[in-house]
């Protein structure tokens, strides 16, 4: 799941966000440790730590001293809000650009999105 080009720590953070979003990591559950993440993805532990710290900085995870990282209460909705903000840029804009390239008119595009035949 790690791809080239994008910073690995960012991909680690996004992967954890996805798990929070789909319930794999429920709120108030313990997040994987740095070393667990490093071993699982075969990455440098410092990179894994950076990914975790991103999520701490945005309040999605919190630290319990001496125990580890936990998913914050409200993290699910927070991730959802971030993902919705990103949706336009990551999905809608490329879709519109490709439609323009192919000469698909917006009215046709809307019909397609609604699941109808053009």
């Amino acid at each position: 799941m790690i791809d080239d080009g994008r910073p690995i720590f960012q991909q680690i953070a996004e992967d954890l966000e996805r798990q929070i979003l789909d319930g794999t990591l429920p709120e108030e559950s313990q997040a994987p440790s740095t070393n667990e993440l490093a071993a699982f993805h075969r990455i440098n532990p410092a990179t894994a730590a950076k990914g975790l710290n991103e999520l701490v900085a945005s309040g999605i995870l919190y630290k319990k001293r001496g125990i580890g990282m936990f998913v914050s209460t409200g993290a699910h909705d927070k991730v959802l809000a971030i993902r919705r903000d990103d949706f336009q840029r990551e999905y809608v804009e490329p879709l519109l650009a490709e439609a323009r390239r192919l000469g698909i008119e917006q009215s046709h595009l809307l019909v397609m999105i609604k699941g109808g035949r053009v």
């Binding site: 080239d4 080009g5 720590f9 490093a38 071993a39 075969r42 440098n44 804009e93 490329p94 650009a97």
Partner: protein
Amino acid sequence: MNELIEATNVTKNYRGVRALDDVTLSISENSITGLLGRNGAGKTTLMSLLTAQDFLTSGSVKVFGEDPLENDKVLSRMCFIRESQRYPNNFKVRHVLAAGENFYPDWDAELAASLVEEFRLPAGRQVEKLSRGMRSSVGILLGLASRAPITIFDEPYLGLDATARQQFYDVLLREYAENPRTIVLSTHLIDEVSGLLSDVLVLNDGRLVMAGAADDLRQRATVLTGKDDRVAIVAAGLPVLHREALGAYTALTVDARLDDERRALAQSMSVEIQPVSLQTLVVRAGLSETAGAADRTLSTIGGAR
């Protein structure tokens, strides 16, 4: 971070051939540093100089803040496993383990024994009679079990199959997680190890052409593909590393990340944007045809850390 190894203006000549040319670099504590570059780029020479197994022509090397040359205090805390590590005749695997225990103050006999099992090494067999892959495993075992605060591997996995290499990466990570230390690894299998590395040094023709955090280098360059004139518009003003063309269809590697403005422009002009993997970036840096242009741009950002 604390710099454990510092090389300053290091030059090494071998009978008139300049193997290293004015190399300045540093390696920080508890990093996993990848030393990359083509054959003959000077990787082994550099590692030999850092571990005082060879003499400098000029420049200086400091390890733990001291000159490593004939310095027991420094050298007993370093372990250098050569690609073509030789062992005395009649030395069996268990003799190597005993020697490791004698030589390295932090030697972990328990780890050594478990790695003999894990790598399925025949303890009673002569090392020089083992297969290439098994000899590599012996080297890996020595390096890991030495628990040396600085452990340097030169192409540690010649002859190892893909499964054994994965095993090496897993053991390395496990060991590093339990006992963090400074690891330097020279390799050609960049894609395989790139996730393990925290830092990268790239040598080309004896010179340091790239240095930095692996994550920074991973997102440093971009490939633009599309119709040549449109690619040129999107890439206007950016340093070019490489160009490939198929008629009007062009793939241009630029040494830059694209800002949102350029991304939008690329999208509107049907120019595809792709990130450049570490391996591709290193290949671009090591291509002698473009080395002139590439090195200049690279070394301005490289060199200093």
